[in-house]
């Protein structure tokens, strides 16, 4: 029996998928309860990890290393540090919530939940893997269930959205694969071990760093999604069923920024420094403002939130580009916070879509008078997304912007202007949908039910608690991220020293 909780967290959902496949097709409730039963242990393990995690070290913890394909030196190598632990927590948290949110799925629930559990396992694997090959395998495994989940259970244009998502990600994967192989063959003995690849960071030539960095970056940027690779996101969100939107925005997008921090930062620090301004900070700022402005023009509530995701993920890019303690901590915290807040937003849109069967912002009106409890939740989620102080996203956005100011004051000013834009489109949408005279058509809509509230309560509590006591997460991540940041900055200094020495020689 494996003793590493991470192994359990990765493979329990897979086991669950196998069990679900053996269940009778017509017994929907059995399938749902089984799916829930296989996501709960991961959550409990995540809580145990949260308790037991050593916050004082930047080393990998809960490590398991078993040879997998020895002839290529590929290992089953999992472990977490401060960076990945938040993502593992987030995945474990979102999974049962998504199962609950999928409770009303009627169309082949057996297949749906089996695919869903495979998806969860793959995402968990991505966040735990420390072997680049393993990482890549999980990354690719994740694609397939996502494709089917959107393509079968999605909205009217689901095939288009699913294929678009699939192709985009495949393009990214190809580039990532090339960079991965380049790194593999560059090292002798050949290895996929991310830690060993990072240790050898000083042996990569400058050109190699640039090329590998760019290839990896495009692969990850598609997932974030960064402009101009973002157009799959609105389509995928609009077509995907609610729970899939939640997992997509809540966890999947984080894989992009996580990948940059896990692979690009420690392995290719020189490339990171070279491109931090243009490709992370400037592009991040552009993402923030562009996403916010696009969101303002949307007619579909879900599309609006999708664009707001693009905007909020820009903060993550901007924060990590700052290369300051505040910025990088803020970026990872923002990843977590965006996961919870956006999950709430999509769940709430799902509630109204289930009732009214459309999401047109101008097609509602006055829902606050019809569904007061629901509107209260919407207000909480919207204000959290706006970064209202006292709620979680405020902390991360302030940290990101504060950190960003040090190196990029001008960009920070532009990025900070998004606080106005965000308030603008959020409040405007809120006003059109929830305030004003109640729409005659929807007077009889039932208010939010207990199951739906149950999906929102844990997220709501986290949003409030992290707003008041952000150190619940910051303590987890700080040590590892400072170490990571120090690694990059040290590489910069070393490179700078080499460069100045070289120029010194040239001068003589």
């Amino acid at each position: 029996m494996p003793t590493n909780p991470l192994t359990w967290m990765i493979f329990l959902p897979l086991l669950g998928a196998a069990v679900i496949l053996c269940l009778p097709r017509d017994n929907h409730s059995l399938v749902k309860w089984t799916a829930l039963a296989f996501t709960i242990p991961a959550l409990l393990l995540a809580i145990a990890i949260y308790q037991g995690f050593d916050r004082t070290t930047a080393q990998m913890q809960y490590v398991t290393k078993i040879p997998w394909i020895p002839s290529f030196n590929i290992e089953y190598f999992v472990g977490i540090d401060g960076l990945s632990v938040t993502m593992v927590l987030l995945t474990a948290l979102i999974a049962p919530i998504c199962v609950l949110a999928s409770w009303e799925i009627d169309k082949a629930p057996k297949a749906y939940f089996a695919l869903f559990l495979v998806l969860i396992a793959a995402m968990m694997g991505v966040f735990c893997a420390l072997d680049f090959f393993l990482f890549f395998v999980f990354w690719e495994v994740m694609l397939l269930p996502m494709y089917f989940l959107i393509g079968i259970w999605g909205g009217p244009r689901r095939e288009y959205a699913a294929i678009k998502f699939f192709l985009y990600t495949m393009v990214g994967s190809v580039l990532m694969l090339i960079a991965m192989l380049a790194l593999y063959f560059h090292n002798d003995p050949h290895t996929f071990d991310l830690l060993k690849l990072a240790e050898a960071r000083s042996t990569y030539s400058s050109t190699f760093q640039s090329l590998a960095w760019l290839a990896l970056f495009v692969g990850f940027a598609i997932k974030i999604p960064a402009f101009p690779f973002h157009t799959w996101l609105p389509d995928a969100h609009v077509e995907a069923p609610t729970a899939i939107s939640v997992i997509l925005a809540g966890v999947l997008l984080k894989m992009g920024t996580y990948g940059i921090l896990r692979v690009n930062f420690p392995i290719l620090p020189e490339g990171t420094l070279r491109y931090a301004f243009w490709l992370l900070a400037a592009l991040g700022t552009w993402n923030i403002v562009y996403g916010a402005l696009c969101a303002m023009a949307q007619k579909d509530l879900k599309k609006l939130i999708a664009y707001s995701s693009i905007s909020h993920m820009g903060y993550v890019m901007f924060g990590m580009a700052s290369l300051t303690a505040e910025g990088i901590d803020g970026a990872v915290l923002q990843m977590f916070n965006h996961g919870t807040v956006t999950a709430m937003l999509f769940l709430l849109v799902g509630v109204i879509y289930d009732r009214a069967h459309h999401r047109n912002i101008d097609g509602f009106g006055g829902l606050a008078s019809i569904m007061p409890v629901y509107t209260a939740w919407v207000a909480l989620a919207f204000f959290a997304a706006m970064g209202l102080p006292g709620l979680s996203a405020f902390i991360s956005e302030v940290l990101v912007l504060l950190g960003g100011w040090r190196n990029y004051p001008g960009l920070t000013a532009v990025a900070a202007s998004a606080v106005v834009l965000t308030a603008g489109y959020m409040l405007w949408a809120m006003q059109r949908v929830y305030l004003g005279k109640p729409n005659e058509k929807y007077l009889s809509l039932p208010d939010i039910n207990r199951r739906e509230i149950a999906t929102l309560v844990p997220l709501g509590i986290i949003v409030i608690v992290l707003g008041v006591y952000p150190h619940a997460i910051l303590d987890l991540i700080d040590t590892s991220l400072q170490h990571l940041n120090g690694t990059v900055l040290a590489a910069g200094k070393a490179a700078g020293a080499v460069a100045s020495a070289a120029s010194g020689v040239a001068a003589h």
Binding site: A325, E326, D329, S417, V420, Q431, H471
Partner: protein, 745 residues
């Protein structure tokens, strides 16, 4: 300032209202339905009582300490300790925040009490008190927070509550719009605030001393000397950005547009949020950061200029309004302008004093107007009022006293505070006679529009229709967006349709108390020229880096002394210096007393002039208002009446511009970015279509051949399956026989 006295009760000043809000927010609807409104009332009022008691306790504790040691700190937990940033969830109480806390909990408590009567027929009674308690908690956080970030929590928190309360009757589109407008406008200010904060932090961090905690800022702020941000001196940049925040929150030009619209909220809310507390946050913030603003004379000039302009323009707009609350709203904007004049000339305590007195009389005015509106069933147009004096004596007298205070008629509170501002504007090294002149003119306008209001509302004949007061709605629908649906049931019964009536005791008692405040609070800071001792200024002196009366100082003197001293000794030395200066300035005052008397006389005369004009126009009616409104073919009047078209201007430029940009980008996203993607997809599809043709013709041909052969064979073999069980049996037996014989033979 260096050794705070640690206490642990300050947190409850904030937490008590927060708990009240939480209980009412989560269980209020249930309480109201099952237990009754009094339960909701108790849950809402008790925390305010507790907060007020604790505020008094804190005040008394401060009184018992030496002035320079007056500083209580309650550190609850760490909040953000990342990198060089160290911010705690901590509350502090010094003379300034103590004064603000008393105002918020005291006046806030009275307004809570008043609301019990005013909102008694509101179906969402619990929701109202949830917001009100939440607002109180946020405002107290703003005041008590010990760092810029904790202050910012309250800063945005009050914005949120203001949003919720303005749009309280959210079925009306106009109310919801007003709420959004307030929040978004405030956010523009917040944008400046955070940038200022970031700039300050990193400028200090460059010297290894980054902080946003006030007490550390006060000591380290001299490190900004010589630093620049974006081409400006660091201090100037930071303070300018902070001032942008202040213009948002305190409704100054150019961000004042939200406040008049904010009158869509319930009237007690206007009194609490949009007159007494929230809108003064900008003034409070500048006073709190006075050491920083002292370093940036450029910013102070800007502040003074903006304050003066705002005071004047708001007053002129107020002259032409017909909505009883809008007049008061513009008056508030104008009075806030006065406070900023004081800030801009470095007379921080004077500005705060005006904040203090203004809180009383403006709250009283708003509550009085609320009482009138309540009596007239949500009629807000002054043209439909009149003669209310005999129906509502208490409301009338309190309203009149507060009006006199606002107009600066001695000996009411406003006289002392406003005249002090005008005097400082004239005499301070940062001031100028121009500021004084405009201020005095504004005071005249103030007196005119306030008495215009008094005469229109309380004198003459009642002009409303006695049968149904609520029927004037159609004429001016947007001026008061109160939800008719929510109130019709409350006002349907016949007894109310008689003459206007005095409001219940729950509403009049707060009015009386506030009116007393409007009359008496001025005596807290009687200027030396009138034989007073500046009690209020003395109280705030420890907070102000520069001596309270330091007209004689250079702008850079004292704070640098404090900062460079780095220690108790230096601080004590500094205090001694301040006292020395105080003595000097008292002498100085005596010299200037003649001037001061003269200016006082002028401003009081101007105020009386304004009153006289109002009396002539609206009481005696010997002067036709239209002679003014028609002057220059009505141009100035239309400009004033339409608020100088500022709203329209913003709508046409900023809002439409943003929306157009947003639409443009969304189209760009859909057509260009996505178009490239889809175009790439199209090309790939075309290529694959060509390949597909080859596939179909050649490759598929072979495959299909195999397939069709199998199919033909299968069709023949199908006949073997007869479906008859005996044919299968035959086959079995034959098979057995064959096997047997094969074996045997």
């Amino acid at each position: 300032m260096t050794n705070p006295i640690l206490v642990d009760y300050l947190r409850w000043i904030v937490l008590a209202p927060l708990l009240g809000a939480a209980i009412n927010g989560l269980a209020g609807a249930w309480l109201q339905k099952r237990v009754g409104r009094h339960a909701v009332t108790a849950v809402a009022l008790l925390p305010i009582g507790i907060a007020f008691a604790l505020a008094v306790k804190g005040f008394l504790q401060l009184l018992s300490i030496e002035p320079e040691q007056r500083f209580l700190l309650d550190s609850v937990s760490k909040w953000m300790h990342i990198g060089h940033l160290k911010v705690d969830m901590a509350f502090w109480l010094d003379p300034l925040s103590s004064m603000m806390t008393l105002v918020i909990t005291g006046i806030g408590g009275l307004i809570h009490l008043y609301s019990v009567g005013y909102m008694s027929e509101e179906p969402s009674y619990w929701r109202y008190f949830t917001y009100l308690n939440l607002f109180t908690a946020a405002m107290l956080t703003l005041v008590l927070g010990d760092s810029l970030l904790t202050m910012f929590v309250g800063w945005e928190g009050v914005g949120l509550c203001s949003y919720a309360l303005i749009g309280f009757w959210h079925r009306e589109w106009a109310n919801a719009s007003a709420g959004s407008k307030a929040f978004i406008t405030n956010r523009v200010g917040d944008f400046g605030f955070v940038l200022g904060m970031f700039g300050l932090f990193w400028a200090l961090d460059r010297t290894g001393q980054g902080t946003v905690v006030f007490r550390e800022l006060a000591q380290r702020v001299h490190l900004l000397d010589g630093q620049t941000i974006a081409g400006l001196a660091a201090a100037t940049f930071v303070t300018l950005m902070m001032f942008v925040g202040a213009t948002g929150k305190s409704a100054q030009i150019p961000l004042y547009v939200w406040l008049p619209d904010a009158m869509a909220g319930p009237t007690p809310v206007s009194a609490l949020i949009h007159a007494a507390t929230m809108v003064t946050a900008g003034v409070y913030m500048i006073c709190r950061l006075n050491f920083l603003f002292d370093m940036a004379p450029t910013t102070l000039h800007v502040v003074a200029a903006i304050g003066t302009l705002t005071a004047f323009f708001a007053a002129t707009i107020g002259v032409a309004q017909w909505d009883i609350k809008k007049v008061l709203a513009y008056s508030t904007v104008s009075q806030l302008g006065f406070m900023f004049i004081a800030m801009g000339v470095g007379a921080y305590t004077t500005g705060v004093f005006h904040l203090f007195t203004h809180a009383f009389f403006k709250a009283c005015l708003f509550l009085g107007s609320g009482s009138v509106i309540h009596a007239l069933h949500h009629e807000q147009d002054m043209r439909h009022m009149g003669g209310l004096k005999k129906y509502m004596p208490i409301t009338f007298w309190t309203f009149l006293l507060s009006t006199l205070a606002l107009c600066g008629i001695p000996p009411f509170a406003g006289f002392f505070s406003k005249d002090e501002i005008l005097w400082k504007a004239f005499s301070s090294p940062l001031g100028s006679p121009v500021l004084w002149a405009i201020g005095t003119l504004t005071a005249g306008f103030t007196a005119f529009y306030m008495f215009r209001q008094v005469f229109l509302v309380f004198y003459g004949e009642y002009r409303g229709s006695p049968g149904g007061h609520g029927h004037g709605h159609d004429d001016h629908g947007d001026d008061h967006g109160h939800a008719t649906t929510a109130h019709d049931d409350g006002h349907g019964h016949g007894g109310h349709h008689g003459d206007p009536h005095e409001s219940p005791a729950l509403m009049t008692i707060p009015l009386v108390i506030l009116a007393l405040g409007a009359v008496l609070t001025g005596f807290l800071n009687v200027p030396g020229a009138l034989g007073g001792h500046h009690v209020f200024d003395q109280w705030l002196a420890p907070v102000i880096a520069k001596a309270a009366h330091g007209e004689g100082h250079g702008a850079h003197g004292a704070p640098a002394a404090v900062a460079r001293g780095h220690g108790v000794e230096a601080a004590v030395e500094h205090e001694a210096k301040v006292l020395e200066h105080d003595l000097e300035t008292v002498e100085h005052d005596v010299e200037d007393a003649t001037w001061e008397y003269l200016l006082m006389a002028v401003s009081v005369t101007v105020a009386f002039g304004g009153i006289l004009l109002a009396w002539l126009m609206y009481r005696r009616k010997s002067l036709d208002p239209s002679t003014f409104s028609e002057a220059w073919s009505g141009g100035p009047y239309r400009a004033v009446y339409n608020k100088y078209w500022i709203d329209e201007l913003y709508d046409a430029t900023v809002i439409r511009g943003t929306l157009a940009l947003s639409n443009l980008l969304a189209t760009f996203d859909r057509v260009v970015v996505d178009g490239i993607v889809n175009g790439a997809g199209w090309v790939v599809r075309q290529v694959s279509a060509l390949e597909g043709a080859f596939d179909r013709g050649v490759v598929d041909g072979l495959v299909n051949l195999v397939g069709s052969t199998s199919l033909a064979l299968g069709n023949r073999a199908r006949a073997l399956q007869t479906g008859h069980i005996y044919s299968y049996l035959y086959a079995i037996v034959i098979g057995v026989v064959v096997v047997m014989f094969a074996r045997l033979l």
